[in-house]
Amino acid sequence: MSMDAVLFWFLSIVVIGAGLSVVLMSNPIYSALSLVMTMVGVAALFATLNAYFLAGVQLIVYTGAVMVLFVMVLMLFDLKRELQAFSRGKITGFFKIAGVGVLAGLLVGVITFTTQKTSLIAEGSPLAADIAAQAASGADNTKILSENLFLKNILGFELLGVLLLVIAIGVVALSRSKGGTHARD
């Protein structure tokens, strides 16, 4: 078993375990911290996929910013414990859990049965050899990412800037509102 495989299995256990505890922990703060763990695991998974820069961004944006906000808001609320952590209705609850189980099974089934190959590119083609070579080299592909982002998808990039601006303004407006459009009684 190669190091790659060891790492993958270890990380997938971490990620799935932490992901499950996000859903199963009754204290939302534990959920949030489990989610942080998941994010770190996903960052490591990105690194195993040679996306080092994205791994760093995942750490900075998700663990360093988004989850901090979640944890801060949870602490702001002082919600010690969710009274009803899960849905009460037995029938719908059963359906929901069954639905999720079936969904998981189906997804895995579809993935394993419909894509027989490990790659979408036909084996033996020159491109496949390139891919194998690149995957083995573990080269940093920040440069390719950056070229794609700034030369090909520049419009999306600028639009995201505008989106962030709009949200920055909207959030301030939201936080100033007293909550709700109706007068307080």
């Binding site: 703060i29 820069f53 760093g56 750490l59 900075i60 360093g64 901090v68 944890v71 801060m72």
Partner: protein, 382 residues
């Protein structure tokens, strides 16, 4: 796979080396504490600890023993898990990030090469930023886990402060990245070898006196100042230690802590200081480089002195390690000196400085750097 080595020998040495660097970082903390106490004594015209051992040096040991022997307890209302987890989160990210800083030239023994750093990360800066961003959880976990109002307030303040200054920090680093064109710290240090040279606007200018090194500080003076200031805030040091403003919040988010867990917070705080000092050295002051001599020259000198490649490599590494540590120590001393020199800000002033002063200046620095690089390049090509 390379940094962990291919042979058993290399793997073992690398593991031992990593542990050593970690221990070095942890051991630096008592020394810094001693330095801080003696230094404050020196600044405030008193003695500081001077009874235990020569110059009070054994005081370190006594402190450590005291810390380790404290009773370990959790307040009844506190959240046990978070209360314990918080100190770990203070220590580990600091250590992990610190290990990514290169401290000397690689050491070559026979066929094996060992890096004098925990591991080499291609995306060095991004990695360090990402890891040290996790320090915020320490404060939040400690503040929430203690279930004390002082702790929670302190935690909120500290978290808001740290994330605010992270913006200025991150933006100041953009200038550095622009100058060197890489995330890799070792490559940055290599780029700072040799005499100061500007190239651009159609001419290639080497500083007339060769003693000025090709350091980043000459290209990014504003960025260096901003990064250094932000680093103070990031490590919750005076004048930015609002989180533990004694007069208001007792001791901030670690009000409830004592003993070994408190020590871990200490290590975390000093660890951030060390990361900041290491980054300052690496970004702006040539890292382990020695002004006036390139690494090759030093290596050649070693070779002619010892006539043995391994010995020359050891010599080279040792000299540069010393050089790094001298610069590193100077920055740590500045941290300590500032702590005992400047008064504390008010909280609203602190946030104003972060958002309304440093962030715009960092933006200005970025724009200026990019524009100069752009214009210079256009001029050369055109």
């Amino acid at each position: 796979m390379s940094s962990m080595g291919t042979t058993t020998f290399e793997i073992v040495i690398n593991l031992v080396k990593t542990v050593l660097i970690f221990l070095m970082m942890v051991q630096a903390v008592p020394i810094l504490v001693w330095l801080e106490r003696r230094g404050s004594g020196f600044i405030q015209n008193r003695f500081g600890p001077n009874r235990v051992g020569p110059l009070g040096l054994v005081q370190l040991l006594a402190d450590a023993v005291k810390f380790l022997n404290k009773e370990d307890f959790v307040p009844d209302k506190g959240n046990r898990f978070l209360f314990y987890a918080a100190p770990v989160f203070a220590l580990i990210p600091a250590a992990v990030a610190f290990m990514a800083i290169p401290m000397s030239t690689p050491l070559t023994v026979g066929d094996s090469t060992f890096l004098i750093q925990g591991y080499e990360v291609n995306i060095g800066i991004v990695f360090i930023l990402g890891i040290s961003a996790m320090a915020v959880y320490t404060m939040l976990m400690a503040g929430w886990g203690s279930s004390s109002k002082f702790s929670l307030m302190g935690a909120m303040r500290a978290a808001a402060q740290v994330i605010s200054y992270e913006l200025a920090l991150g933006l100041a680093i953009v200038g550095v990245i622009l100058v060197y064109g890489t995330f890799n710290l070792t490559e940055m240090i290599v780029a700072q070898q040799g005499p100061l040279r500007f190239s651009g606007f159609g001419f290639d200018f080497v500083a007339p006196t060769a003693f000025l090194p090709n350091w980043g500080i000459f290209f990014q003076p504003l960025g260096a100042i901003l990064l250094f200031c932000a680093a103070f805030a990031e490590s919750n040091r005076l004048p930015f230690d609002l989180a533990e403003g004694e007069a208001e919040l007792v001791a901030g988010f670690h009000t409830e802590y004592g003993g070994f867990k408190m020590l871990m917070f200490f290590i975390g705080e000093y660890g951030h200081m060390m990361i900041a000092a290491g980054l300052m050295t690496t970004f702006y002051f040539g890292g382990y480089g020695i002004p006036g001599w390139t690494t090759q020259e030093v290596y050649a000198a070693g070779l002619s002195m010892f006539g043995n490649e391994t010995a020359a490599s050891v010599f080279n590494t040792a000299i540069h390690f010393l050089s790094f540590n001298i610069k590193f120590a100077i920055f740590l001393w500045i941290f300590i000196h500032v702590r005992w020199t400047l008064p504390r800000f008010r909280y609203d002033q602190l946030m104003d400085i972060g958002w309304k002063t440093m962030l715009p200046w960092a933006l200005f620095n970025t724009i200026l750097t990019a524009t100069v690089i752009f214009l210079a390049s256009q001029y050369i090509i055109g």
